[in-house]
Each structure stands twice: as structure tokens, then as C-alpha cells.
Symmetry: C2
Subunit: 555 residues, 2 copies
Amino acid sequence: MSTDLFARHRETLEQALRAIRTREYWSAYPEAPSGRIYGETANADGQAAFEARLNRPFPIDQPGTVGQAGAETSPYGMALGITYPQVDPAALLPAMQAAMPAWREAGPDVRAGVCLEILHRLNRRSFELAHAVMHTTGQGFVMAFQAGGPHAQDRGLEALAYAYEEMKRVPETALWTKPQGKAEPIAMAKTYHLVPRGVGLVIGCSTFPTWNSYPGLFASLVTGNAVVMKPHSGAILPAAITVEVAREVLAEAGFEPNLVALAAETVGEQRAAAELALRPEVKIIDFTGSSRFGDWLEENARQADVYTEKAGVNCIVIDSVADMKAVARNLAFTLSLYSGQMCTTAQNIFIPRDGIPAGEGRLTFDEVAGAIAGGVRKFLSDPERAAEVLGAIQCEATAERTDRAAELGEVVLAPEVREHPRFPAARMRSPAILRVDAREAPTYGRELFGPIAFLVATDSTAESIERVRATVREHGAITLAVYSTDDAVLAAAEALAMEVGVALSVNLTDGVFVNQSAAFSDYHATGANPAANACLTDSAFVAKRFRVVQSRRHV
Amino acid sequence: MSTDLFARHRETLEQALRAIRTREYWSAYPEAPSGRIYGETANADGQAAFEARLNRPFPIDQPGTVGQAGAETSPYGMALGITYPQVDPAALLPAMQAAMPAWREAGPDVRAGVCLEILHRLNRRSFELAHAVMHTTGQGFVMAFQAGGPHAQDRGLEALAYAYEEMKRVPETALWTKPQGKAEPIAMAKTYHLVPRGVGLVIGCSTFPTWNSYPGLFASLVTGNAVVMKPHSGAILPAAITVEVAREVLAEAGFEPNLVALAAETVGEQRAAAELALRPEVKIIDFTGSSRFGDWLEENARQADVYTEKAGVNCIVIDSVADMKAVARNLAFTLSLYSGQMCTTAQNIFIPRDGIPAGEGRLTFDEVAGAIAGGVRKFLSDPERAAEVLGAIQCEATAERTDRAAELGEVVLAPEVREHPRFPAARMRSPAILRVDAREAPTYGRELFGPIAFLVATDSTAESIERVRATVREHGAITLAVYSTDDAVLAAAEALAMEVGVALSVNLTDGVFVNQSAAFSDYHATGANPAANACLTDSAFVAKRFRVVQSRRHV
């Protein structure tokens, strides 16, 4: 069974290996929530599967279960009523360790085959996952399907491919034959074992419970480690489905299902992640969430390698534009998508106070501000489109922050409480846009998570660039965008991006947005500024998840 | 000039890339200190070059020089009388940072060419380096030539090859073309910049000032970082020559020589490494030395990635042997070589107190002990050979520890103060071998650096294995050897090696010794036990030394 899986998915793996070499467009899992691809009944089946989960315990038969936890509420209004196993790490983790020797012994090909089958089955359950992601994160359905399903699966596969390639660079054996002049050469047979580190802990976030967790999950698992998933207390269900699928495939392939486990807790408890993170069995931690807890993990979980994606302050520099309408359309979508609750959404848009050159003729600051605000207003004027694009606000604190946003600057666009056409209790807000002066760095220079954007008036593009440099150096960022028709400014932006270690998007006006990060092509985060200590998709993310232990003997 | 260098050394790099893929025997730099290879006058020239260094300042024209430091004394008896620039990090490090943009911009091929030329010139100066290493570390001349010259150069090239391959896995550009059904595809041009981390700090040890430092030096340099070498105050000269060669090649290739700099200090000061390690400019630290300072670096230099090789307690398990004489001959060399001052030398030899099966018939514990002690005695009975193999003791503390070794257990072989045939003031000691009981773990379970070995009497091989497990888990190890004619015992040793993450040598009796680690084939350290948090020769050692920063724009 387990070698069959490798053969079955080998072509997918080989394509993924080619894709990470070229970083050209490729995707393993179709992003369209289409019955023609996923089956005519897939949507209805997925919704039914989701609904069948509600108001009952989610069954995962894992060791160390000491109770039930979980009290998720959909940002669209209803309580999910699902509970999950609450675990005693002192009982669970040793059981996970005990499962590892056979998993290590199986080798990279068998492990890759099992992981690819897990991804394949997750893909087949993308509609169920979409509903689960939608009703925990607040994402609109199509986004929940794409980001929570195929895009997350692609990111998992991408990390798997990097890890597989890294393992395959270590030969299994070598015959070492050292010449000795005219004497017989010395010959030794050497064996190189790939040895896992221990239990990997994946700590998820409330907004992207699968997309941000799958790279760590699959990178750790394929390299021979066990993985315990500790989802955010507000978004457990997508992780629980993932764990269920993984355990099912592992068991069918003849492995101990305890190689993957779930550690859930109820909203407001906030103890389980820290407790797990300090356990001696835990040797790898993947974390997405607040800078406060991410920094705490880096500082305190010293027995583990810690990979963090934390808060950042993403910036845009507008210097000059060929077509302000096109820019405004692009930014309207960027600022609206999932109500700004993406780690890649821009918060600060730096614009010279004296205005900018544009294809339409010179535009004043207010005209640029008006174009952006007008673009958002127009884009969200259709309630159906607004509901689908904005989705709902994941947590009350973000909604409250948005409601108070007018205090932060001169209001260019006031946030609105919106009503969802189908979920009247949904927690919906449209974006707030504020004008501030560049000197007000204490206001705009920190992350204000949610649909809050600043138009920052600067003396010049040179000042804009300096302000971005200072902001990103101190607070980090995952994305940076620049709009300019001046090659010198674009070169300065490119140099800035390298200096502060942030991905740059240049003059986005068509169907690509600064907050989109495409698997197999876009490197997500860099590890080179305070927003993240790792990139989710490179060799450095995977290379330390196993070690090489050799033995040698005379031949 | 700089692209020429890549072309000139390309074949060497390609062979190195093949070697790290197969881990079969390969070496770039001939290990024989032979006039036929290095030129008939190479030895005399090297000695003259070394002697010309003595009793004067070593000239390195680098920024931030605030005085002179250094007071090295040869373990063979004479003061070297050389001083080196003492630096102000606040002046030196910004100058090194300023040199990095052009170095980054040059790209991996040009940087690799320059680094390969540095290695090539170091190789041509192997005789001079041999004298420098001999008269700082105390190694015998041939060992100083090999370990300090070609073997160190091979290790540098090996790390360079891993880093080069890792960089080359990132494409420079990609055309990302995403299909849009019947509409025009979305096309974006992406550029992937390799960005260095900052200044690398290489903190050397007193016993292998080049071998243990070159992997970090070349891994950091080729990935675009600047590197400051902080050698041990007792072994500055080999690092200073290295820095001199690197600066010379960098300048000739049109780069700022300050990409490589030296930070020296006088014996007993012990401030410079800690001061440098906490500087914000320093983003990578490679350290070889004590566990105390290595742990301190890991704990405190939080702005940097820290790679450490620290103390360990290497073990041998003797279960059964085909030929005790052959085993004893092998161990005699292992225990004698460089007076046990290698990070790979065995300290604890576990033997069942009831004796072992042997090809010669059953041997009692005392017979095994006698064979080992007799082997050492016989091997060192020739004063010329003893002088060449033992070398001298690097520091007085190690000599004193050896002199007091008889207090540690029942003396099987008493250490002797030896006289060197050509250096009457040399600090020489022959190995001490003590018998202890397995229960005396507080005595043998810590590193006692130098020529001190324990024969540990256990109830059984099963207990031997348990004792090794406990020792390595707590104190770490870089090597483990087992002697057994029983496949079940060999399998248990292999499982133990994987569990505690230590390289295993099986039944070494011919011309390979547990303390030898061959570049391009043996992985040095694992990063999986307390003796080292990294392997010196794998992807994990290099992958984080640069980051990928992308930019993208519509086509």
C-alpha cells in the first residue's frame, strides 16, 4: 500500500519538483470551485458534510484525551457547537514519539507517497474545507475554497517538494575508496541515515488555518517527524478535518495514526500552545500569529527550531502612475479582499503631499485619495460582490478597532457596518481609509489588523521610501508595492526591498494584487525582517527538519 | 578578473558538486606534504615565510584598528612575538557592511570564483600554514600540514559547494503565466534576488584554527556576507594568514578587501568574541570551542543565527573482536594522535567486566585493557614517531589535567612527560588510560579534554549501550565506535547512533580511525545532540545564510 502511494502520486511530485526549480506558473490542485472539476454534487456534499459536523463532538481517537474543548462561532453569526479532544501533552507526545521509528524507517519515498495521498484526499474534500474555513475565518466562500483548499494544498505540496529534494540530496550509501599510492586503496562502506528531530508543533492562526499551517505540517511530516496541530481556538474545524484525513491515510498505509494529532482548546484559554511549545519532545515549531506570542516562542522554546510568521506593516509607495483609474481599481480590491485581514494586505500608502504625475495629468494628493476611496466605494456598491469579497470580520476586536478608526486620522473613507445578503448576523465592515501626515509614525507605524488603511502624506517619494525603510526595519512587512513611471524610483524601490527584505510588487494594475501570493512562484515572507523569521517556501524552511547520521565500516 | 576566476576554477567546483552528491572519495587539495606536488622549495619557502612573521607586527590594513594584540606561544616552546590589529567593532563592522552591496550584486558565480581563488592560494601556502598551525596548536608537522592545510581547504570547498548549490536552486527570474480560461493569460516577470544576512562572525578554536573555521568562513562569504574572523587568542596566526590571502584576492578581483577582516586579542582577555557576537551588524556566528561559551552564544546572540560545535564525550563500545591486536593497534593511534586533543577522539571505552569473546579466544577485561595499553606503549616507543604523532599539548591546563589523571581511576597506563627530539621545551604528554566502573559516571561522563581515556567496566554490552545513550544525550558526542562480531549488537549500535544523533564507526582495524573525518564523505557533527547544534557539511549549514527577496511586475 505505502509504496503504491508513491507510484500513484509520483508524477505530481515530479511536476512540483520542476515547479520549485523554475518558479514559473504551476498548480497541482484546481482553484475553481467547479462541479465540472470536483464532481457535480461536490458542493452540496461538502456543505452537507460541514453541516453534519455541527453541534456534536468531532471524533478523533487519539491518546491523552482528557476532555473536550472548543466553542467556535462563525463570523457569519452562528455558533458551530463542535467540541474536539482536549489533550494531556504528557500522554499524547510520548505516543507520538513512539510512532516515529517506523515512519523514519519507511524512508523519504514512502513518506512522500503518504503525504501526497493526504493532500489528494484533502483536495477531494475542498468544498467541506471551504465551508469550515468560511465559518471560522469569515472569508467569503470562493476565497475560503481557494485559500483554504487548493491554494493551501499547493503550499503544502510546495514545502513537501523542497523537503523531499533536500532529503534526496543525501545519498543513502557511499563506497569511499581512498587511493594509497601503490598500496591497496582503503575502502569503506558508508550509510547515511536521515533522522527526524522529534515532534513538530504547528500553531495555526484564526484567519488562514490551513494555508499558513500546511507548509509546516507537510515539511515536518515528510522528513520523518510527528506533528501535533494546535489550531487557533477560533478556527479549529479546518485543522481537525486535516488531522482526520491524515490519520486515516496513515492508518491505511500501515502507520501509526498518532503521527498526526490535534490539540484543541476553547476560546479564551490560551494555554495549550505555550504548554506544548515548551515540552522537551517538541523539536520544531511552526507558528503564525501575533508578534507578541511569536517573539515569546523564539525567546523561550529553546529546545525547538522555531519558524514564525508574525505581524507586519505592509506598505505601498505611490510616486507616479500611467493610469490612476487602473491603480485605484487594483487597490480597491486589495483593500477590500477579506476586509484587510490578510498578512499581505497593505496598510500604509505613501503619497507625496504635493501630488503625483499621472497619465491623466498631475493629480493632487486629494485627487489620488479620492480616486482610491472612490474605487473602494464603487467596488463595494454591489451588495452581493461586497459580501463575497469582504467576507466577515473574524473577531470582535478587529471589528471594534475598525469602528474606532476615525480617531486615527482625517477620514477619507469611513468604515461601514454592512449587512450580508444571506447571513444577517454576519460581522461585516467595509474598509476605513485615513489620511495622516508622515510625522505621525506612532499612529500608522504599527500593525492595525483589519480593514484600516492610511494614506500617508510625505514631502516627496524620497521621504516615502525613507518612511517605508524605517517602518519595515522596525515592524517588519511581508509585502511592499510601488507605483511609478520613473525607472530611477523603481530601482530605488528594488534596492529598498532588498535592504529591508520584503517582496516587492511593481505597478500592479491588472488581475494580480499585492496581497496575493502564488504557490510555486512567489516566496512567502523572507525571514529577513521582523514580520517573519523564515520564508515558508525555501530550502532554509526544510533543511533543519532532519539530520544526517552516518555509519561506516571497512569493506 | 572576477569572472575569469570562476572560469579558472569551474572544474574544481563541478567536481566538488559531484562529490557532495555521492559522498564518495574525493579531495581537491593534495594531502601529501610533498615537494613533487607543491614544488621542491615549498617546504623551505613555507618555513622561511613562517619565520619571517615572527617577532613583528602582522600587517593587515583594515578600518577600526585601535592597537595591537596577540601574545601567542608555541606549544613547542618559543614565543611567536607577533602582534595583530586590535579592532573597534563599532568602526570595523560598518565598513564591512558598506562592502557588501557590490559583493551581493556580483552574484553567486563571481563570488564562488573569488572564494575558489582564495582556497587555491591558501593551498599554495599550505607549508607556511602548516608551520603556523604547528606552532599555535601543537600538532605534529604532518598533521598540521594536512589538517591545517589541504583538509581544511577541502572542508571550506565542501561548504562552498553546498552553499553554491543552494543558491543555484533559486532561479534568477521567472515568467509566470497563469491561464485564464478563454481570456488572455496573466503574465508577470519575477526577479529573485539572493540577499545576504549581514556580517558573519567566525570564532575559532585553539586546536583546529583553520579546519573548524573554513566551513563557516566560505559558507558565509560565498552567499554574499562579509566575515570577521575572531581566532582563539592562542592560535591567531593561521587565521591572520587566511585573512591576508582573502583580502588580497578580493582586492585583486575589484572588491573591497574589508569583506574579510581579523579581530585579534591577547591571551587572557576573552572579551572580543562576546562583544562582537552581540553587535547588531553580526547576523551569523560560527563557533568552535567550549560548551560554556557556545551555550552562551546560543542563549544571548539572538540577533544572529548561531552554529556551534562544542564539547562532547566520544565513546567506544567493545563487545567482541575478531582480532584484538588489530583493534589495539587502531586504538593506539586514535588515543595518541595529537595527544587526544581532537573533538573526535574517543574518551570512554566501554568493556564488559567479564571480558569479551575474541578471535584469540575469550579475553578478560584486564587482557583487553592490557592489549590497549600495550598497543599505545609500543606505538609510542619510537621517540621520533611519538613526537610526530603526539605533537605538543596546546595549553597548560590540558597538560595539568593529564598530569592529575591518575586521581580519576585505576591507572592502566600512566601519562608521561615526553621530551621532543628537536624542541626540548615542547609541552608533551603521552596518554593516560584509567579503569573506572560504569557507576562512576560523574567521573567519566564529562569531557576531560586531552590525552585521557577511560576503560569503563560494565555488566554487559547492553549496559555499555545504555551508558553511551545516557552520556551522549546529556553531554553530546561527535563520534561513536563499536567493536562487535555480533550482528545484533551492530544493529543495536546503529539504532543507538540514530537515536542520539552521533556518527558511528564499526570495527575499525585498518588504516581508518574514529577521529578522522574525511571531507566530502563524512558528515562532521550532526546537530542532533549537545556536542553541536549543526552539522558542518550539509544544506542546513548553508541554507539560512542568504534570503530570497523577489520582485514582480506585469509583462
